[in-house]
Symmetry: C2
Amino acid sequence: MKPINVGLLGIGTVGGGTWTVLARNAEEITRRAGRPIQITAVADRNVELAQKVTGGAARITTDAFELVKDPSIDIVVELIGGYTVAKELVLAAIENGKHVVTANKALLAVHGTEIFAAAQKKGVMVAFEAAVAGGIPIIKALREGLSANRIQWIAGIINGTTNFILSEMRDKGLSFADVLKEAQRLGYAEADPTFDIEGVDAAHKATIMSAIAFGIPVQFDKAYVEGITKLEATDIKYAEQLGYRIKLLGIAKRREQGIELRVHPTLIPTRRLIANVEGAMNAVLVQGDAVGATLYYGKGAGAEPTASAVIADLVDVTRLATADPENRVPHLAFQADKLSDLAILPIEQVETAYYLRLRVEDKPGVLADITRALADHAISIDAMLQKEPAEGESQTDIVVLTHRAVEGNVNSAIARIEALPTVLGAVKRIRLEELN
Amino acid sequence: MKPINVGLLGIGTVGGGTWTVLARNAEEITRRAGRPIQITAVADRNVELAQKVTGGAARITTDAFELVKDPSIDIVVELIGGYTVAKELVLAAIENGKHVVTANKALLAVHGTEIFAAAQKKGVMVAFEAAVAGGIPIIKALREGLSANRIQWIAGIINGTTNFILSEMRDKGLSFADVLKEAQRLGYAEADPTFDIEGVDAAHKATIMSAIAFGIPVQFDKAYVEGITKLEATDIKYAEQLGYRIKLLGIAKRREQGIELRVHPTLIPTRRLIANVEGAMNAVLVQGDAVGATLYYGKGAGAEPTASAVIADLVDVTRLATADPENRVPHLAFQADKLSDLAILPIEQVETAYYLRLRVEDKPGVLADITRALADHAISIDAMLQKEPAEGESQTDIVVLTHRAVEGNVNSAIARIEALPTVLGAVKRIRLEELN
């Protein structure tokens, strides 16, 4: 099948991540999209960097305006950022009949109406999953996954820098200024962090989500924007005492009179899942009238998480641009003739950690026998809980948490342990996953 | 634009929910899909019920096999359940060139390969978002949103009944048998709960997700399935002491030798977000090589949450079946000429709750003055925190949490409070959202 040719504008952090992931997962992505997706041309002022990343596998140019006119290009990926040149390039790409994928939230929040109208007129797609919450497919969820719903409100932690700062302020009781310096040192905040800490970045993203949720045009200029620079450690502490955490939320809410669109520090009950989203992570909570509350959580920034969204859009455009139903969206995600024959393993070959509970006689040597049986089957111990026998009793419980082990080995070890005279009855075995 | 005609097989809980939501949100759904989506025929043995739900707005029949051949029907929605009749009906619908939307996880986990092949051959779509995790768009996330990734593993709480039982066992220290009875009384568990409590339902869903994640055929017969019936309250307590919660997880994991596909009670660290998913809620955690971990959370069952997924599939099929790019997936979710002119409200008209922190002289009457100022502006108090002045000091902090109020009123109240001689400096104001 003829490959889809992609022209990449900007090969910095996200552009480099896009190149890397497309190359690394080329085989699976092709099986999903129905045809290869390849970056054939890159425009960047830093030719040396572009050559280093691509290793000569793509044409490099410094002239982005030439690239968006290249007749061999099917899709243009815009990763330059900003409102001015990026806007001209996106409009030129559309004018030349290219589909566009962009991560540029500022551009869409401010000039989206003009850009979408141009795309509509030319019959091309503009995809922007990467513009909101990085790798979390929240645009797709709002636009397609929740399309049955009258969406009532959206509340999102959609800026990782500020969530990292707020988490650190709470954890360590430090001031905003001190944590900001630390965040800059660690690379979680930029040298000029204004857009993040003043809430502008979050407001761009909230603006885009408000449009998709309520079917209104993007209206960044109407958003209320308040950052976290005036937040004091005292208030984080008092909020905690009252059962709340403070998060910078982007909120879009439908009211009878109109739409609330606002970004500001917000107290939320600690028991809500979204209140426990810490560090640089993002999460978006959506309230729909049919589905109720759904939450979407993941990394909101970084080279590969953002590239994940850019490439998902490339796959989407590739699938949708193919008019025959067989090559649109495959039932099982991968094209039907490209399924894998990886076998499903029998449970004995599964690897996981284990919780083992044993009832034992409280006698010397019991523990030694048990740990020996485990060690002989290549099972190592992560933690142990041993209770004193209750008053007047001679039996007690031992609980062992193991490191990862093969289930077959664990079965053998359990059989040996159950045969010990000091072990009473069956060993209770529950599997344990760290999920990290 | 010509409407899409839907034939509904089964108008029980989910079928009724689908009818209700399609009718209630018809205007928004049409703006999203590009054309009206209407249920024109319903097949159900219970004609009386079908007539009651539809109010005469659709043709009712008891002959489902007649309905799937009806030339006026574009999409068949199968909500009958089970493996036998449902399979014949779905295959007959496909054979007659209908697209199919189904919530039938058992059918797809067991007979998916045959059904998808038939659909592929006829060039029609089979959509099944509702088959896994109810209203959470997890199928779409795996099939489209994460298509850039080599997915490493999926771990999901994908059965609400068992998660409700486990939450109750932990909360109240009760036995499995006692909580099961309670769950049946409350309607969280069916009269015959075998499929849920033995893990079969979760294994159906895990099987479907494994196929989409790894590009393998559905192979329910290879899944390892262990339910929660043997779980004891003692182990939940010990796990808690060691920093873990026990959840029934559906796990699909890629190993070099093959795929692990298993459902069983699992200890997971309490600090993980997914460990805090309580009651009948569902959540799926997906680990991809580019995006890292993403989590999807929401209601996994119920009439309207499941209908939300069924209708999202109807919108998807409608969009995709329309070949011209303008009517595929609109940039802003709603068709470009169908945007709404709902205004974005100025911040003074926004309604939210507030956290107010005041520095005050510790004198009689201070609190009365403050609460009077709030009451005069229609602001009621939800909670208050007042500290004793520190040793030798005459000032202290008062923190007030208000109920929802209009921001303009709060501004006026704050101005009046700041003018009080006993209140020192500015009032610190942070907004508060319950997000429920």
